[in-house]
Symmetry: C2
Subunit: 416 residues, 2 copies
């Protein structure tokens, strides 16, 4: 075959991919696509080819759109990514995106547009990097009623907490994460829990069918954690993770992110370093856990290319129309409480009496004298967060309490 | 709308499922399908309905075939399951099966038939129960070059080994597994490693594109493990699992199942009880691990219904035509060695000299005197299995060696 004829054959069978954005992930994606094109053509019959790239300085969106079968959006942020995706879908093009901000804030608009125009919208890389959580929830478990999803969906904070578990301070651990490229120069989106909250909004929509906006997700970060919280927790057999939760509660849905102590047997307790992991619980399947590297160049590129291949294969549908559940704010959790108190008689009695008045029941307690001061560390049985807040406000007002009480949630179920 | 009109509408939109086999899984599947039909109709637009059931005593295959859009095969075994599936695909029907025996022995024939007739053949439940390993390999990682897959793919043996890790003998642990319904009255297919070998044959085909027949997979079971192997291994920081492996080795493919010691940090080391888990490694994604309940009524039914939904959605393609890799038999592993020897001078020197002659290099050793006897427990660096076998044959011939040497593989990579 002459090289001209080969060229013609390649064009006939080509699946044309337009790429919006060419940063770290975009570059890794186009390299990977080129490297894997032969293999994809072998099993799929069509060869994916990048037919246009849009960056800030080059490329024309309309031209790229016209010349492609599918658009991959790796720009990030809200605009112009949102407008590009909506325009592409309205033109009947399938789209793939890795944009968690956009999906957690404008997801319903995008899903609705995909349904209306009968196109596919894939976004595996927006949630947990290379870990195929979207596919698990949308496809494998499409027919399974889900009770809860718990996830470690931010690799930066998981790396920092892993370092702290080995004795680093928060500041040292953050510096190490930045040095190794796991945290950005401005880490606030990660360490505040906001990045995880965006991912949990998307997960909650997929698992429960209920539209959840990023602003509906309550989140706490890891910036205020103290090393001695980790040390005391270790004595109690607990490890500390930043956990996102989406679960049915009181007939509604609770979606939240906060530092959480896990018993050693919990499937997420052993996930360390910059990894992500998600555990889905259902009476039907007990639980399924998936773990792997979080967002980052090659893993994310692999997830994006997996989405491109699934569009080529013809699977994938937009999420079903929404099925609203009430969002529940005040839920029961077990808590770890840390109190810095004067070491004098009657302190434990006074504290436990106030807790009892607010129906906070103690499961375990460790008191340790340190000269004139003492530390009281407790784990409670599950209690409504609002009751716990009232109780610790009152405890914090005692004159013998020397610093603001600290409270961290505990997942106390013990697994097999 | 009158109830007649409703009936007509339901029939128009119905997705007709013919069910072959109505045992534990078949029963759980038809209950689950009925329970979830509303929800599936809501997001899919069509309602799945079971339009015929074939059991040994009732139903007519031809009639069920003619009246269904898709056949679900939950009979198990080779015939008549094979003939039914081939006939259905030749008639243009999509099929779902949970039959690992059939897929590990006649997979290529089934895949070829599916490709030829352009129908879908789904079999998630044949591999790891509710854990969506097939979808991970066929779809999420379709575009990712895979280096290795390690799996705990038999829940019975994992339960038994978990019990043994807590001090039960093999016989006690097996009896407990039978009492709790995790092992059959005749457990030989599970404890011999043959069930895991069938699943690894299927996994290897999906991960590497190479047809692997059950009879190509070397397997060892757990029947001959001794409690003191677990105890010594614990001293060395190792846990014991029945691990299936499929990996690129020496330009070919090695597929095998055997008891394996894992370092505590390995992602499979913390999987206990009747669970399954699979770790996929790739330079691209580091590793992804999935875990969940192994085969059994409701979890398997959930996987089968997930397959039915994916056919309704229109995704799923048959595996690509095969891409043969040479199957490699003799591969390098690190080994744990257990020697029961007379406690006399020169024993360690004699043993290590023989090992050295066969290029078996020692990483760690524990010697413990017990009156006139001593136990030597070693972990080697990676060595070709054939060299190790020759070395221990020669060591076993020493007059001071009091029982056949025992050798168990070790996965020694340390993860993050």
């Amino acid at each position: 075959m002459s090289s001209d004829a080969q060229g013609a054959a390649a064009t006939t069978g080509a699946f044309r991919v337009g790429l919006l954005g060419h940063g770290t992930v975009g570059g890794a994606f186009s390299d990977l696509l080129e490297e894997r094109a032969d293999e994809i053509e072998r099993f799929n019959g069509r060869r994916p080819v990048i037919t246009g790239v849009l960056t800030r300085s080059r490329g024309d969106f309309e031209e790229i759109l016209a010349g492609s079968d599918l658009l991959v959006e790796l720009i990030g942020g809200i605009e112009p990514a949102r407008e590009y995706l909506l325009t592409a879908m309205r033109a009947g093009k399938d789209v793939v995106s890795a944009n968690k901000q956009l999906l957690s804030q404008y997801g319903e608009e995008l899903f609705e547009t995909a349904r209306e125009h009968g196109v596919r919208l894939r976004f595996e890389a927006a949630v947990a990097g290379a870990v195929p959580v979207v596919r698990l929830l949308e496809e494998s478990l499409a027919a399974t009623p889900i009770d809860s999803v718990h996830g470690i969906v931010n690799g930066t904070t998981n790396f920092i907490l892993s370092e702290m578990a080995h004795g680093s301070s928060y500041a040292q651990a953050l510096a190490e994460a930045q040095r190794r490229g796991f945290a950005e120069a401005d880490p606030s989106d990660d360490v505040s829990g906001r990045d995880a909250a965006a991912k949990m909004a998307i997960i909650a929509r997929l698992a429960f069918g209920t539209p959840v906006h990023l602003e509906d997700v309550r989140y706490e970060g890891i910036e205020h954690l103290q090393l001695d919280d980790l040390e005391y927790a270790r004595e109690l057999g607990l490890g500390l993770k930043l956990i996102g939760t989406a679960e049915r509660r009181s007939g509604g849905l609770s979606v939240r992110v906060h530092p959480t102590f896990l018993y050693a047997g919990h499937p997420l307790a052993s996930v360390s370093g910059p990894f992500n992991a998600v555990t889905v619980e259902s009476g039907m399947i007990t639980e399924i856990t998936m773990s792997g590297p979080g967002a980052g160049g090659p893993g994310t590129a692999s997830a994006v290319l997996g989405d491109v291949v699934s569009v080529m294969t013809g699977g994938a549908r937009p999420p079903a129309p929404p099925l609203p559940l009430q969002l529940v704010e005040d839920v029961e959790s077990a808590f770890y409480l840390h109190l810095d108190v004067a070491d004098q008689p009657g302190v434990l009695a006074a504290v436990t009496q106030v807790l009892g008045e607010h129906e906070v029941s103690i499961k375990s307690v460790v008191q340790r004298g340190m000269g004139e001061r003492a530390r009281l560390v407790m784990v409670t049985h599950p209690v409504l967060e609002s009751s716990l807040r009232l109780a610790i406000e009152q405890v914090g007002a005692f004159p013998f309490v020397r610093a603001a009480p600290r409270a961290i949630r505990v997942i106390e179920e013990e697994f097999l």
